[in-house]
């Protein structure tokens, strides 16, 4: 593998590139979709190949090949370097890629490694979860378990001397429940994930996979569609996490700064929210699904404190964005597979807990809405606007929880939303999700405590 990487780098440099890097990947995936104990989809897949980038005078070229023979790599690397030279004619901003190099090897260790576990065992586990969910209540009509695992051997090398090999195993469970009675049908799901092996998920989370989606779907049977209006909103940890991710995290990604489009442009060191807010992105947390030791450019990953006591303190960088902005590369570059160039991404993103007790906060809120879980969300960092949709919620009237509501959504402006947070609870929870940026999906975790937002527009039907 080293020989092939060295050959790609040497060929690219000889063809005129000033920086070359390569990702050699071998991935085995298992995707299972089990509905009421019947397999809908059983997929075993292999992704193998090399992604190569060449850099010349501020211009990048990228290509990939599944032909990782010496001939295949040489041909690809030369053509990519030539493309970078062609594209560099249209570039005005000249800079070089400067970064420290790393040499390391990270092995995958697990009690029950995913790459050595037969698919039959994984199917049995998914069937059992599906069976347990359908037995919770007669109104559970569809107990669906989506199981995904990915074992990857990734070798990243570049012309600065980096040569990092990292093996990882990731598992994600997405249990979905459809409950039905004579009045309506409702659906709910959660997502939990980890890096490690089978059996590494704690028992309480395994139980949650079965109980949480069915609890939510059943409670939604008696729900009302929320009425649109301006509310005091208490966001639960998954929704808070999604809000941090959508409303703030994307604007902290290095490439939204180099493009000049981030609303956080020129805001480093300034106040972006109340003093009690601290936000992090941390790929070094052990065992989370978005954790890694080295990023997809071979830079050692690090914990990033995006906001410290309300002050914007750090961004997420790739080699490119760090070099251009003359900041330190901090290991945030990720690529979906070797078929995509690495770009700055979030990993495990969260808000630090505060000191409010949730029940006291509800009592204090008087009139409002508790909004829970995330259906989906998105952001437009140039406009500074975001939107996300919760799955379920509960109205607060006279300081007490009343009617269950569904499908409420929050929309707002990135810089307006943090100042609206006036209370942060002392609880905490993480959930897994997948984030799509520039056509690349990545597993992420987001979380935090319950928080209260004052007077935000909530969309309803």
């Amino acid at each position: 593998m080293e020989d092939i990487a060295d050959l790609a780098i040497e060929t690219g440099l000889n063809a005129g590139a000033s920086f070359v890097d390569i990702r050699l990947e071998y991935t085995r995936k298992t995707n299972l979709d089990v509905v009421n104990e019947v397999t809908r989809n059983t997929i075993l897949a292999t992704e193998k190949g090399a992604g190569i980038r060449a850099f010349v005078n501020g211009s990048w070229a990228f290509g990939f090949t599944s032909d990782v023979t010496k001939h295949g790599i040489q041909k690809a690397s030369e053509s990519i370097a030539k493309m970078a030279i062609t594209a560099s004619k249209w570039v005005e901003e000249r800079y070089e890629i400067e970064a420290p190099s790393f040499q390391d090897r990270i092995e995958y260790k697990a009690k029950t490694p995913i790459d050595e576990t037969p698919v039959e065992y994984k199917i049995e586990q998914a069937k059992q979860l599906s069976k347990d969910m359908s037995q919770i209540d007669v109104r559970v009509k569809s107990a669906r378990i989506i199981y995904r695992d990915v074992y990857t051997e990734l070798c990243v090398a570049n012309s600065l001397g980096t040569m990092v090999k990292e093996e990882t195993g990731r598992i994600v469970f997405i249990p979905m429940c459809t409950a039905k009675d004579e009045k309506s049908a409702q659906r709910a799901h959660i997502a939990l994930g980890l890096t490690g092996g089978l059996g590494d998920m704690p028992d309480e989370l395994m139980l949650m996979l079965v109980e949480e989606p069915s609890r939510i779907a059943l409670s939604l049977l008696d729900s009302k569609a929320v009425k649109g209006g301006v509310y005091d909103v208490i966001a639960d940890p998954p929704l808070n996490g999604a809000m941090i991710h959508e409303a703030f995290g994307h604007a902290c990604e290095g490439d939204s700064l180099t493009s000049g489009s981030s609303v956080l442009q020129d805001r480093m060191g300034t106040s972006v929210g109340p003093e009690h807010i601290n936000l992090f992105d941390d790929p070094t947390l052990k065992g989370h699904v978005a954790s890694f030791v080295y990023d997809w450019e071979g830079t050692r990953a690090s914990r990033k404190q995006l906001v410290t006591d309300g002050i914007l303190t750090e961004f997420m960088h790739s080699l490119d964005t760090a070099s251009r902005l003359e900041m330190k590369a901090n290991g945030a570059a990720r690529a979906m597979t070797f078929m995509y160039p690495p770009i700055p991404r979030m990993s495990n993103t969260f808000m630090e807990p505060g000191d409010w007790n949730l029940e006291e906060l509800i009592e204090d809120t008087k009139e409002g809405i508790v909004m829970c879980n995330v259906n989906y969300g998105y952001t437009d960092s140039t406009k500074g606007s975001f939107m996300f949709k919760s799955v379920h919620g509960q109205l607060i009237e006279n300081g007490e929880r009343t009617d269950i509501v569904r499908d409420a959504s929050i929309a707002g402006q990135i810089l307006d939303i943090l100042p609206k947070i006036d209370a942060i609870c002392n609880d905490f929870f993480y959930d897994a999700g997948s984030c799509g940026t520039q056509g690349q999906m990545a597993w992420v975790m987001s979380g935090g405590p319950h928080i209260r937002l004052r007077q935000v527009p909530v969309g309803g039907v």
Binding site: N41, I43, G228, M339, G460
Partner: protein, 450 residues
């Protein structure tokens, strides 16, 4: 290469049959993509991607297994046939699976799906298209700061479906997409928007129009304000309907979701679900259209399927599995964006028949309401409830556009959106696989806040 893909597919079928498979389907693709991305109006990345791979589905009785590999080398294909076989062996039998698509008498000839110029485009030509679009955006924004992002992608793909039931089909298709985002001005005056264009033909892509339109769209959003909330008329333009119809309506017609009861259109076949203004088709044989193809992802012939006629729901969208289960004719709606994705049900081209009413005439009919020109939201598919952010939109008052909107959402049930469509426009636009004019919805819940 083209004939070789058929031979490789046939090899996969034989290999899996030798392992003991009862039925096998191989889906192979060979794709060349040229891509150019810009940032701050300058080239950021050029890419050439050569992707060839194979997706395999194996049936062992009615146990199904799927695999794919990002390669078409013989050893890798043998491994992926083995993987699909292992997956099938360990699966639970699905009594509703009967067969992959069997031999078909004929296939439609769909014109305009392949463009030689696009097939042979190089990186320099792609850069030139992009720079023309950038220039056009700058000409509109003048001396103001204009941060332009965007990209141009040209793709030439050959796809092959071969199966053990007699299907062996091949098709070559090209497509191009040019998109431009313009963020104009600074501080509170900053406004941004986008424009894009897709075509199967390079000559149809107009970089000057896309660049200029993206800047014009952005400038129109300057001075956005919120508005008073209420139940008001709502105009949705083709740019907004791309998500509302292309996802919100199409996914509800997915026959597998209908069979599971996960759709607000379940039990609606033959019922009046929409206003008589709406005529909607799923047309897979429209010449040159982006969603057109002569056969679907399982090798079933494409057709033009009526979905809504005189307000009555005519058909759901079927693949071979769902049509066999429902004992109805297949509509040829198996889709597969890549060999790396398993086939699912989706639209080919969603086509809404236009009337003669212009968008200006439609706006002039609205005393007070909202003109939404872009949203990205999708409904709850079980209940049909849609709560959508007006990503780009305007307040309409006394028949005229007043100002752009911010922090504004609209809420409506999809069932009501279809029934309360009181006007259909003439301004038909093609946005990816959705071809529609603007529509006027009688009333939606508008929520707006600071």
């Amino acid at each position: 290469m083209k004939q070789e893909l058929i031979e490789l597919g046939t090899h996969v079928i034989r290999h899996a049959e030798n392992l003991g498979a009862t039925q096998v389907e191989a889906y192979l693709e060979s794709t060349r993509t040229i891509e150019v991305k810009i940032e701050k109006g300058l080239i950021r990345l050029a890419a050439e991607k050569l992707d060839a791979g194979c997706g395999v589905r194996v049936a062992l009785g009615n146990k199904l297994g799927v695999s794919y590999v990002t390669s078409i080398l013989e050893n890798d294909l043998n491994q992926t046939a083995q993987d699909a076989f292992s997956a099938a062996r360990s699966s639970v039998a699905d009594p509703d699976f009967k067969s992959f698509t069997s031999t078909q008498p004929s296939y439609p000839i769909v014109k305009g799906l392949f463009d030689t110029e696009l097939d042979q485009i190089d990186c320099e030509q792609a850069v030139e298209m992009m720079t023309r679009a950038v220039q056009a955006s700058i000409e509109v924004s003048g001396k103001e700061r204009n941060l332009i992002e965007g990209g141009f992608t040209a793709e030439s793909k050959t796809r092959v479906v071969v199966n053990s039931q007699g299907i062996s089909v091949l098709s070559s298709e090209t497509k191009a997409e040019l998109e431009v985002y313009s963020a104009i001005g600074t501080g509170d005056d900053q406004c941004s928007s986008w424009e894009d264009m897709n075509s199967r033909n390079l000559a149809a892509i107009n970089p000057e129009m896309i660049g200029a339109k993206s800047a014009q769209n952005a400038l129109a959003l300057r001075g956005a304000k919120s508005m008073d909330s209420g139940d008001l008329p709502l105009i949705l333009t083709p740019r907004a309907l791309w998500a509302v119809l292309g996802t919100g309506f199409v996914n509800a017609l997915n026959a597998r979701q209908i069979q599971d009861g996960n759709s607000y259109l379940a039990d609606s076949l033959g019922s009046q679900i929409a206003s008589s203004e709406l005529e909607i088709f799923d047309n897979g044989i429209l010449p040159g259209a982006l969603g057109s193809r002569s056969f679907d992802a399982e090798g079933f012939p494409s057709k033009n399927t009526p979905l809504i006629h005189s307000g009555i729901l005519q058909n759901y969208l079927h693949d071979s599995y769902s049509s066999t289960k429902d004992e109805v004719e297949c509509t040829g709606n198996a889709i597969r964006s890549s060999y790396r994705v398993t086939p699912s049900i989706g639209a080919s081209n969603i086509v809404v028949s236009p009337s003669t009413l212009t968008l200006d005439e439609m706006i002039s009919e609205v005393k007070r309401g909202v003109l939404c020109t872009f949203t990205f939201d999708r409904p709850n598919f079980v209940t049909g409830e849609l709560s959508a952010m007006v990503m780009e939109g305007f307040l309409v008052s006394k028949g005229e556009v007043q100002h752009a909107l911010k922090n504004t959402l609209f809420g409506i049930k999809m069932q009501d959106l279809l029934r309360k469509t009181i006007r259909v426009g003439s301004d038909i636009e093609s946005r990816a696989h959705v071809l529609t004019p603007s529509i006027l919805v009688e009333s939606a819940k508008i929520t707006s806040g600071q």
